[in-house]
């Protein structure tokens, strides 16, 4: 008697599997069909947290009538997992260079239709050139949104109290156990971004930041393990608030994030003074790129939004607010002097030469790296 439901269920199983197998081409067809149809006035954006001037989206909607659904993430890994699974529903995403490179290889992103990007002339050729060389040949799939460095974010008063002559412009702040141990009590945080943090350790050790030699990884892991007990935690977004409210006094963080912590503390008037330095040893440079996934349902709106972000006044507004350097040469004259004049945001030419991009790693090295990262985080 049980046979009947089992058989019926088996039939459903087969039907389901067939549907699952044929699901992909059907989706492709529907994407083709919508390509020429007028798009509904909606745009789904997935950007980094704390990474836009809040008024910009409203202004874009007012101008174009396109409603923006704005969603945020704080890790490239999370973004990539979603993108590789497909059907994210996002029309515009902002991966960093090395991740973008892998995603282009995996066939995630569509090539940009540059005829729809009239403001592309505003782009900074120096930045676009670096991206084209390392990650996205001919800048075919992406436009630079912001770029920056990872360096030393610190609470001026608390560091001075504990070590008056602290080398605040050096990675030694994190990677020399004798130094970092002095700050363990007031809260030390590192980014939870394995390849980038590895790059900073390798720079500190005087090695190539993008080395994939197992012995270099082992040396870096040794350094990280030797300071592990002084590090309170690893994260890539919560440190902004922690620095701002004095819960943390030292963070390996992204340039603009630390400067946002600084302005948050200033506006809170809590007596916390935050500063950011690009380490003198050099630093890892990241590029956050605007890209459109192939399965985006509103690619035209996404192009419109990229073009809007490329407008010099909009780019300046964003950089003034989030305090990151943008890849928009035309906007530079409109950005506050406090941002453009800050060598830790717009580094000197000499420092620019010392900045290394975080290049994509091979899958084999990625596995070694994440495993090593787990060991570091768990302190084993």
């Amino acid at each position: 008697m049980i046979n009947v439901p089992v058989r019926a269920a088996a039939a459903v199983l087969i039907a389901f599997t067939l549907a699952a197998c044929s699901g992909k081409p059907a989706a492709d067809k529907s994407a083709e069909a919508t390509a020429n149809a007028p798009e509904e006035k909606v745009l789904n954006v997935y950007n980094w947290s704390d990474y836009i001037e809040p008024g910009v989206i409203a202004a874009f909607t007012k101008e174009t009538g396109i409603k923006v659904n704005y969603d945020v993430f704080d890790s490239n890994e999370m973004l990539e997992t979603k993108l590789l699974a497909g059907n994210t529903g996002y029309d515009l995403v902002v991966p960093s260079g090395s991740f973008l490179y892998r995603q282009i290889k995996a066939g995630v992103h569509s090539t940009l239709d540059k005829s729809q990007l009239s403001n592309l002339g505003n782009a900074d050729p120096a930045i676009a050139g670096r991206v084209a060389k390392a990650f996205d040949t001919d800048n075919a799939h992406s436009v630079n949104y912001m770029w920056g460095t990872s360096g030393v974010g610190y609470n001026v008063k608390k560091i001075k109290e504990r070590m008056p002559n602290a080398p605040v412009d050096s990675f030694a702040m994190f990677y020399d156990p004798k130094i970092v141990s002095k700050f363990a009590d007031c809260g030390v945080m590192l980014l939870d971004a394995p390849s980038e943090v590895l790059g900073t350790v390798l720079i500190y050790l005087g090695k190539d930041a993008n080395s994939e030699k197992p012995e270099d990884l082992a040396a870096a892991e040794k350094v990280l393990l030797s300071v592990r007990k002084y590090i309170r935690n690893f994260n890539s977004s919560a440190y902004i608030e922690a620095l701002a409210n004095g819960e943390a006094c030292l963070a390996l963080g992204w340039s603009g994030d630390v400067l946002q912590a600084k302005s948050r503390a200033e506006s809170a008037k809590n007596g916390v003074e935050i500063s950011y330095n690009v380490p003198k040893e050099g630093a890892v440079m990241f590029f956050d790129q605007l890209a459109i996934p192939k399965d985006a349902k509103h690619p035209k709106n996404a192009h419109l939004f990229i073009n809007y972000l490329l407008r010099a006044d909009v780019a300046a507004k964003n950089s003034n607010f989030i305090q990151y350097a943008n890849g928009n040469a035309a906007s530079k004259s409109m950005i506050d002097a406090s941002v453009t004049g800050n060598p830790n945001v717009y580094p000197s030419e000499a420092m620019m030469q010392k900045l290394v991009p975080d290049l994509p790693e091979s899958p084999e090295f990625n596995r070694l790296l994440t495993r090593s990262w787990t060991r570091v985080k768990t302190g084993q």
Binding site: M1, I2, V4, P5, V6, A8, A9, V12, L13, F16, T17, A20, S75, E77, M78, E80, T81, L83, L84, A85, G86, R102, K105, A106, G107, V108, P194, N233, F234, P363, N366, R367, T370, R371, W373, T374, R375, K377, T378, G379, Q380
Partner: protein
């Protein structure tokens, strides 16, 4: 003659209709299990034998063209399971997860049993109120309730401040990010799953059995150990499984409250998936977890079958 046939026909049809109705009723849960358990399981099982690819989705298909393009070859890679054996991380996190789940289950049982007993023996009118109180926390989001524990346990949190103010301690205790915090979180979250099956069992006990035991000279402790406890075993087993199984794979509670130097398997699974983007190894971890969890479920099933048979006899 034809009359007899008609009668037979009618009877046969009736039987058929009845059978069909029953099948329909049985079929629905079967279909449910199939769609939401068997199919996902097979998909995960399939992926666990695949290889990582830089593609969408990021693993190799089951069949693909051979390098020379002449024929289709099946990708069947046992290496993902081998990998779990070579790296001690997986073994130690499995062990830690089982330990945490076992201790939490025991704590839930020790706390939940007296509560369930008290509710089952309470007056009918208060019983419903007490049950309501057990279920009331479910009206708030699970995530929010766990976050609330962060506020309670953290260094300058409610508990530490209260203890400091009372003068019981002069240094704040480090409660958050410890095993203790994980146990608190799991026991707090899963206690209702222990209490409810225990209650529904204890409530059905025939109280005259206790009187009979007392009449025969048994003291309350003996009565409990030899009458109530054995009778409530099915409830104990059900409650323990309902706590143990989700606790082993728990992700949210240890992430928010637990140590950063000891991962639970749920965290490892998510790291494999999100940080390594290695779906095949993540799938292999999931399959192994399932196999580990299947053992207690099957034990329970066998126990239940034996009970049923005993009841029939």
């Amino acid at each position: 003659m034809s009359d007899a046939f008609a009668r037979l026909d009618r009877r046969a049809r009736g039987l058929l209709a009845r059978v069909r109705g029953r099948n329909l009723v049985i079929g629905i849960p079967y279909l449910w299990l199939l769609l939401f358990f068997v199919v996902p399981f097979l998909i995960v099982f399939k992926i666990s034998f695949s290889e990582v690819r830089l593609a969408m989705p990021p693993y190799a298909p089951l069949f693909e063209q051979a390098a020379d393009g002449s024929r289709m070859v099946a990708i069947f890679n046992l290496g993902n399971y081998g990998y779990l054996l070579t790296d001690s991380l997986y073994f130690s996190t499995f062990l830690y997860s089982l330990k945490v789940a076992a201790v939490s289950t025991l704590l839930c049982l020790l706390i939940g049993y007296p509560m369930a007993y008290a509710i089952a023996r309470a007056r009918e009118s208060t019983r419903n109120l007490l049950l309501m109180l057990i279920m009331l926390p479910f009206w708030t989001s699970f995530l929010l309730r766990v976050y609330a524990w962060v506020g309670l346990l953290k260094t300058d949190g409610v508990i530490n401040n209260a203890l400091l103010a009372a003068g019981l301690i002069d240094q704040p205790l480090s409660l958050l990010y410890t095993d203790f915090a994980v146990y608190v979180g799991i026991v707090y979250s899963y206690l209702p799953f222990m209490i409810l099956p225990l209650y529904s069992n204890l409530e059905k006990h025939d109280l005259t059995l206790l009187e009979a035991a007392a009449d025969l000279g048994a003291r309350p402790v003996t009565t409990f150990l030899r009458v109530t406890l054995p009778l409530s075993l099915p409830g104990v087993v059900a409650g323990c499984l309902l706590v143990f199984i989700p606790a082993v794979g728990e992700y949210v509670i240890p992430s928010l409250l637990g140590r950063s130097d000891q991962l639970m398997i749920g965290r490892v699974l998510s790291d494999e998936f999100f940080a390594n983007r290695d779906w095949p190894v993540a799938s292999a971890v999931a399959i192994v977890l399932l196999v580990v969890l299947l053992a207690p479920i099957m034990l329970f099933q066998r126990y239940q079958n034996r009970e049923l048979e005993a009841a029939r006899r």
